[in-house]
């Protein structure tokens, strides 16, 4: 059990450092934003498993699971809001328009 706990905490550390170093190395903020997912998804999952392993069916373990779910949920929302803010700040709008170098479906054209 101790070896498995060590493995979980080691995986947590690796995912956190990979996320932080990836964020740090990226030049564009939009690229750096993607590395938030690694600690928010991977590290919190390893952390929850480790706390369950250490404390068993305890209040702390369930609260850590709740914290993990909160981080999983809000990371997606905050990352989207941040990316939208970056785009709006750069272009003055965030919705795709004609001439943008991306493919998009116009509203009302989907059948």
């Amino acid at each position: 059990m101790t070896a498995f706990l060590d493995l979980l905490l080691g995986s947590l550390i690796v995912s956190c450092w990979l996320g932080v170093l990836g964020m740090w190395r990226m030049r564009e903020p939009m690229q750096a934003l993607h590395y938030l997912a690694l600690p928010a998804w991977g590290a919190t999952t390893f952390l929850t498993a480790a706390v369950f392993l250490q404390t068993g069916n305890s209040q702390a373990a369930w609260k850590t699971l709740l914290m993990c779910l909160v981080l999983l949920a809000i990371n997606s929302v905050v990352a989207h809001a941040t990316a939208r803010a970056f785009r709006a700040r750069e272009l003055g709008h965030w919705q795709p328009r004609d001439g943008d170098p991306i493919e998009f479906v116009r509203p009302g054209r989907v059948k």
């Binding site: 964020m23 209040q59 909160v70």
Partner: protein, 83 residues
């Protein structure tokens, strides 16, 4: 020092690159660094709570995780509109 506290120290060390992101560069990079730092601090607080055996303190990282949601949204909105 048990393995939880050692892991906490290693995670707290990730705040150095986050601080570098927050203190230098464009406002966009600073915001990304801030959001990463909030996730790292949340994880480090859980590790410290279990490592020190003060289990009631587990409420603090839970509160921080929820509060950082609002903080991130407010900063993103502020960056979009006013900076």
């Amino acid at each position: 020092m048990n393995i939880w506290l050692m892991a906490a120290v290693v995670i707290i060390a990730t705040l150095v690159p986050c601080a570098d992101m927050c203190l230098r560069g464009s406002p966009e990079r600073r915001l990304v660094g801030l959001e990463m730092a909030s996730v790292m601090i949340t994880i480090a607080m859980v590790l410290l709570t279990v490592g020190t055996g003060r289990i009631p303190f587990i409420d603090l990282p839970l509160a921080l995780a929820i509060m950082s949601f609002g903080g991130g949204l407010v900063f993103a909105r502020f960056l979009e509109k006013h900076l």
